[in-house]
C-alpha cells in the first residue's frame, strides 16, 4: 500500500433483495484509487457501476441490500461503520456527483441552503463563514453572478448550472475522494467539457482522487489515468488508459471500443457480442457469465471460474478469453486456429 493510496476496495459484493433471495449486482470487485488519480469505470447499462458507487457512499437501502467486503477510505473501513459514523465521513471525506442534475437538488430549498447544509454538518463555521464559503464555492465551480444564485431555487438554473451546484456541494468540505456517476450524460457537449475541465482542475488543486463512471469512451480518453471495465458486476479488465485503448484484451472491452479487426471473419466474431447484461435473477452464477455472449466458442474451451489475472504490468484481464481472439500483433492467432479445429 503506497502512501498515495486513497481508496482500497477489496472483494466487494453488493446484493439486492428481490423477493426472498439476494442477488449480487456487484460481485467480488477489488479496485484501488490513489490521490490525484482518475479511475474510470465503464461498462454497459446494468453492469453494476452505480451499484458499486452507491456501495462506496453507503447510499443503498440497508434493508434491501447486503454489502460484503471492505471499502477502505484513508485506511478506514467505511463499509462497516454505523450510519451515524458514516455520516461523519460522507460529505466530508468523500463526495458524490449524480447523473441527473435536474433531480439531484431539492426543489424547495435555495442553493445557499443546500450548500451550507453540508458545511453546517462538517465544519465549525459560523453562519456568516458558511455563506462566504458557499459563495466562494459557487465562484470556484464557475457560476456567474454567484451572489444572486445563492438565493435562487434549482428550477431557476439551467442543467449545466445545477450540475455545477451539485459539484459545489460535493466538494464543499474538500473531500479526498470524489465519485462522479455519469456527471455529464445529461448535459450538452460544450457544457460537458467545461464540467470535465472543472473536475480536472479540482483534482489537481486538492490532490484528491476521482472515480468517474461513464459510458462515453471519449470522456475516458480525456480524463482517466486508469480504466476498469465492468461486466455483469465484475471487473473484466483493468489497465492504464493507454494500454486499454492500444491493447484492449477482453473481447468485451474490444466490443466496447468497437475496434476494427483485420479480417471479415474476425469482424463477425467481435461484433456478434450483442444482447444486454442479464437481469440480476437471470444472471448465470456458475461458470463464466460472459459465455452466453460469445456462442461461437466451443463449450469446453471456456474456463470454469475465470479470474482477474495480471497479463502485463498493471494490466489485468479476467480469464484467458482474449487469447481465443484474433490479434494480428500477437501469437493469439495460432490459438484461435487451434481452438477452431
Amino acid at each position: 500500500m503506497s502512501d498515495r493510496s486513497l481508496l482500497e476496495i477489496d472483494n466487494v459484493q453488493t446484493s439486492f433483495r428481490v423477493g426472498d433471495s439476494y442477488y449480487a449486482a456487484v460481485d467480488g470487485v477489488s479496485l484501488n484509487v490513489e490521490r490525484n488519480e482518475v479511475l474510470a469505470i465503464v461498462g454497459e447499462s446494468g453492469s453494476g457501476k452505480s451499484a458499486l458507487a452507491f456501495s462506496i457512499m453507503g447510499l443503498h437501502n440497508s434493508h434491501k441490500t447486503k454489502i460484503e467486503g471492505s471499502i477502505r477510505l484513508n485506511g478506514k473501513d467505511v463499509n462497516h461503520l454505523s450510519t451515524s459514523e458514516l455520516n461523519k465521513v460522507r460529505g466530508k471525506d468523500m463526495g458524490m456527483i449524480f447523473q441527473e442534475p435536474l433531480t439531484a437538488l431539492n426543489p424547495l430549498k435555495t442553493i445557499k441552503d443546500q450548500i451550507t447544509e453540508a458545511l453546517d454538518l462538517h465544519t465549525n463555521f459560523s453562519a456568516k463563514q458558511q455563506n462566504e464559503r458557499a459563495l466562494h464555492l459557487l465562484n470556484e465551480v464557475g457560476i456567474p453572478r454567484a451572489d444572486k444564485v445563492m438565493n435562487q431555487y434549482p428550477h431557476e438554473l439551467s442543467g449545466g448550472m445545477r450540475q455545477r451546484v451539485v459539484i459545489a456541494i460535493a466538494i464543499s468540505c474538500d473531500p479526498s475522494l470524489l465519485i462522479a456517476d455519469e456527471p455529464t450524460t445529461a448535459l450538452d457537449a460544450t457544457i460537458q467539457s467545461q464540467i470535465l475541465d472543472l473536475l480536472n482542475e479540482l483534482k489537481e488543486e486538492k490532490d484528491s482522487g476521482i472515480i468517474l463512471i461513464t459510458h462515453d469512451l471519449g470522456v475516458v480518453a480525456e480524463m482517466a489515468d486508469r480504466v476498469a471495465v465492468m461486466y455483469a458486476g465484475q471487473v473484466v479488465e483493468l489497465a492504464d488508459v493507454m494500454s486499454l485503448f492500444k491493447q484492449p484484451k477482453h473481447p468485451y472491452t474490444r466490443s466496447l471500443l468497437s475496434s476494427v479487426p483485420s479480417t471479415q471473419d474476425e469482424k463477425d466474431m467481435l461484433h456478434v457480442i450483442q444482447g444486454v447484461v442479464p437481469s440480476l435473477p437471470k444472471m448465470p452464477r456458475t461458470g463464466c457469465r460472459f459465455k452466453a455472449r460469445i456462442p461461437w466458442m466451443a463449450d469446453d474451451t471456456h474456463e470454469e471460474n475465470p479470474e482477474l489475472r495480471e497479463v502485463a504490468d498493471g494490466h489485468y484481464v479476467r480469464c484467458t478469453c482474449y487469447k481465443h481472439f484474433y490479434f494480428p500483433e500477437e501469437e493469439a492467432e495460432k490459438d484461435v486456429a487451434a481452438h477452431r479445429e
Binding site: N87, V89, G91, M96, N106, L108, L121, E156, V166
Partner: protein, 319 residues
C-alpha cells in the same frame, strides 16, 4: 406568485358562472314556482295569477330571468322560503355559521389525524404500523359515513354519554360558556366526519412520502452526511407535505358532502340538515340556495388550495 394568484382568481369567474347556470337550470326543472300556491286559492283568479307572474318577471325570456336571478343572488337575495315564509337568506344565515364551525373543526381534525398517520406509514412503509394505518384507510374508504356516524352517536352519545346527542349549543349561555358549549356539541360530529374524511389525505401523504424517499435529491442529502432524522424532517416530509395542499380543495368538497349526513344524524342545525329538511317538504328556493352555496364553498376550497400552493412552492412563487 401574484400573477399566478390573479390568474387563478380570474379562472374562478367562469367556474362561478357555470355553477350559477347549473343551479338556475336545476331551479327551473323543479316543479312549481311562487304562483303555484296561489293556483289553489279560489280568491285569486287566473287573470290575477297571470298578472302576478308578469310582475315577477316569470314571463320574460329565460336569459332575462337568469340575469335577474343572478342579480338578486349576488345581493344575497335567494327569494322566499315556501314553508317558512321568511327570506331564504334569513333562514340560511345562522345555519351557515353553524356549518362553518363544524367544517373548520372537521378540517382541523382531518389534518391532525392525516399528518402523523401519513408520515408514519410513509416513513416506515411495510412495517406493522404501516399495515395498521393502511388497514384503517381501507376501512375508512369502505364504511358508509352515515352508518359510521350512527355508530359513533350510539356509542359515545347514548351508551357512554360523553357527548351531547343533538343541537349545536346549550340554550341560555353567553361568552366563554357559550363558546365551550358550542365546541362540545361540535366534537362528536366533527370527529365522525374527520375519521372518515381523512383517509384520502392519509393515503395520499403516505404515497407522497414513499415517492419522495426514492428521489435523487434524497441521495444527495445522504451523500452530504445529513443524519437520517434530518433527512426526513428537512427533505422528505417538507417536500411531501406540499402536494397535500393540492388535495385541500378536494377535502373541503368531501366534508361538505359528508356534513349533510352527519348534521342529520346528530340533529345539528346546519345547512346540511336544512338541505335534507327542505328537500322533504319541497321547499325548492331553500334547496337551490344551499346547492349554490355548497358549490361556491367547493370552488373557494379549490382556490384556497391553489393559493397555498403558490405561496409555499417556489416553482410557482418564482416565475
Amino acid at each position: 406568485m401574484w400573477k399566478f394568484i390573479v390568474r387563478r382568481i380570474i379562472i374562478m369567474f367562469p367556474q362561478l358562472v357555470l355553477l350559477s347556470m347549473i343551479v338556475f337550470i336545476l331551479a327551473q326543472l323543479m316543479p312549481g314556482d311562487v304562483t303555484s300556491s296561489l293556483a289553489m286559492d279560489p280568491n285569486v283568479s287566473p287573470e290575477q295569477q297571470e298578472q302576478i307572474r308578469e310582475d315577477l318577471g316569470l314571463n320574460e325570456p329565460w336569459h332575462t330571468q337568469y340575469l335577474n336571478w343572478v342579480g338578486s343572488v349576488v345581493q344575497g337575495d335567494f327569494g322566499h322560503s315556501f314553508t317558512h315564509s321568511v327570506p331564504v337568506s334569513d333562514l340560511i344565515w345562522h345555519r351557515m355559521v353553524n356549518s362553518i364551525w363544524l367544517g373548520v373543526a372537521a378540517l382541523i381534525f382531518v389534518y391532525m389525524l392525516a399528518l402523523p398517520l401519513g408520515l408514519i406509514s410513509g416513513r416506515w412503509n411495510d412495517t406493522i404500523a404501516d399495515r395498521l394505518i393502511t388497514g384503517y384507510t381501507y376501512i375508512g374508504f369502505a364504511a358508509p359515513l352515515f352508518i359510521f356516524a350512527l355508530v359513533m352517536l350510539f356509542i359515545f352519545g347514548f351508551q357512554l354519554g360523553w357527548f351531547p346527542t343533538g343541537g349545536s349549543v346549550d340554550p341560555g349561555l353567553t361568552g366563554w360558556d357559550f363558546f365551550t358549549s358550542k365546541v362540545y356539541h361540535l366534537l362528536l360530529p366533527a370527529l365522525s366526519l374527520a375519521l372518515i374524511g381523512t383517509v384520502t389525505t392519509v393515503q395520499y401523504l403516505r404515497s407522497e412520502v414513499i415517492e419522495t424517499k426514492q428521489k435523487e435529491f434524497i441521495s444527495t442529502a445522504r451523500a452530504k452526511g445529513v443524519p437520517e432524522p434530518k433527512v426526513y424532517t428537512n427533505h422528505i416530509f417538507r417536500n411531501s407535505l406540499l402536494p397535500i395542499a393540492a388535495v385541500f380543495g378536494y377535502e373541503v368538497t368531501t366534508l361538505i358532502g359528508g356534513s349533510i349526513f352527519v348534521e342529520q344524524i346528530f340533529s345539528y342545525p346546519g345547512m346540511g340538515q336544512l338541505f335534507l329538511e327542505s328537500i322533504q317538504v319541497r321547499d325548492f328556493p331553500v334547496v337551490t340556495a344551499i346547492v349554490m352555496l355548497f358549490g361556491v364553498a367547493a370552488i373557494l376550497g379549490a382556490l384556497l388550495s391553489d393559493i397555498i400552493m403558490s405561496i409555499v412552492d417556489p416553482r410557482i412563487r418564482i416565475k
